[in-house]
Subunit: 307 residues, 2 copies
């Protein structure tokens, strides 16, 4: 997956795009959330600790890039982008809890429950979920999203985050821990646990921008394929990576008997599958022309990343 | 607080009203939620286990009665009523966790984490919060609530459930556990932990029914006073009650050094305060005339209850 000279240039210019968009999301989150000093301070600090822990902001940038593909504006899309990052972060905090995956390290830093204790970590996750729906329901100016698009975005986010999506996937993941899984079960876990939210990121970018049904279908397929590719690459990195570049204990998923793509299919088949999915995802974007370019680069970036 | 003959009759007729409204909420929740057999089954069962654990449905009935006071319809209000019960139930599941209040009994039954394990209990709470916003964002027919009223209701619910409300109150409660609290701190905990959601129940009943600003202010004050009275009575019952009628370990809050009203003010002053609050709350309802009667009876019921 090492880029040749041509893609290296595109990749460097894309890194700037990605960094710029991520900075917009960071600034938005920082302005939207109560300051650290807001009482009770402990929870305000815990919420910010995890939200500003060096996350790559892939989901919110995906929301922004999907909106861009169909002519949406950054102002009207940022609340949705922020909401997806908040839901993602809440899920990481809860997944890391001792009762769940029991992780003490995330993105190279101690996890929330290690720093703030389990009770506050649970509540910080709860609060982040609430914030996500709050920002979409009542986004501050200059966002001028209609109430109709706001409820559609909320419904979409809730559907992807709930039992039929992310939470259901986490339950499946826990259920199959330490048990052999077949390829179909593994794909089901991935589609729920991470796939649903990535798919919804692309869809909501379209929804807040008033995408046509056809464009929304394209974004949906794109999100499904890119999402699964992303998770496969995540699995590969877990097998191949080291603690420093991953920011978490490498090989941890494999050691704990978690179902992973390389475990079921082997590394080279997993890599081939990821490439195939991204190639198909890129094909979906053709009708968007130049407007779909950031989304395409984002998908390529997702499988070329090293962490 | 034992009722005289006149109020006894009103109370009996009100018990029928309350039971009827609670049944409407139960039926709605049952139809809305995925059946127990929905995969992953474990989470579907856990969600239903706590939601149908014999709760009194006070919050959803409050939403319905507030809507009734300002001319709202049951059809358009039931999604909001259900959402409040789901948020309330999620908070109970998480509060009962070993890392929080560590309760093994709730409403006379083993708590969620005792039955399903901590991981699933955390996820069931998470899922219920998501469901709450989902039902408000996309309520099934025959609800015909406008998108505008839906986003207002979602924003209101989120604000009451988040760091500025319920979650913030739980953090405060944990922070002051085992420490002496003054009257002001105690009231702050109560206003956040239980008060915010009860206040919002009354407000959202008004919002979904298109209440005027004046009527919304009345419902707000009513909700604040009734909510605080409710919590004071809860504290008194904890001191005086027994395990059987409470469905939880009596005196538990007092033993764990939790801040309670009778602890800070004494039982008789606590009772006087609750009566005073409800009396003031009832006064707010006068302009609603007969339409406000269910809301008035509900407030009286809240302080006369024995569990």
């Amino acid at each position: 997956m090492s880029p040749d000279h041509g893609t290296l240039e595109a990749e460097q210019s894309f890194e700037r795009y990605l960094a710029g968009r991520a900075a917009l999301v960071d600034t938005y989150l920082d302005r939207y959330l109560p300051p650290e000093s807001t009482p009770p301070e402990k929870i305000s600090r815990a919420v910010r600790y995890s939200l500003f822990a060096g996350g790559k902001r892939l989901r919110p940038v995906l929301v922004l890039a999907a909106a861009e593909a169909v002519g949406g504006t950054v102002e009207d899309t940022l609340p949705a982008a922020a909401a997806f990052e908040m839901i993602h972060t809440y899920s990481l905090i809860h997944d890391d809890l001792p009762a769940m995956d029991d992780d003490s390290l995330r993105r190279g830093r101690p996890t929330s429950h290690v720093v703030f204790g389990e009770a506050v970590a649970i509540l910080a996750g709860d609060a982040l979920q609430t914030h996500a729906f709050a920002v979409l329901a009542d986004p501050p100016a200059p966002c001028r999203l209609s109430a109709d698009r706001r409820v559609r975005a909320i419904a979409e986010l809730a559907s992807a985050a709930g039992v039929g999506g992310m939470v259901g996937g986490q339950v499946l993941d826990l259920e199959f821990e330490g048990r052999p899984v077949d390829a179909a079960t593994l794909e089901r876990i991935h589609r729920h646990k991470t796939g649903a939210l990535i798919r919804a990121s692309a869809r909501v970018g379209g929804i807040v921008s008033g995408a046509s049904e056809d464009d929304l279908s394209r974004l949906t397929r794109f999100g499904e394929e890119a999402g699964l590719a992303f998770q496969i690459v995540d699995d590969i990195l877990d097998v191949e990576g080291n603690d420093a570049s991953l920011g978490k204990s490498a090989g941890k998923d494999a050691r704990s008997g978690k179902a992973t793509y390389p475990l079921v299919h082997g590394v080279s088949e997993a890599r081939r599958k990821a490439e195939e999915l991204v190639s198909s995802a890129l094909g979906r974007l053709k009708p968007f022309g130049a407007a779909g370019r950031p989304l395409a680069l984002l998908a390529e970036h997702m499988i070329r990343r090293s962490r």
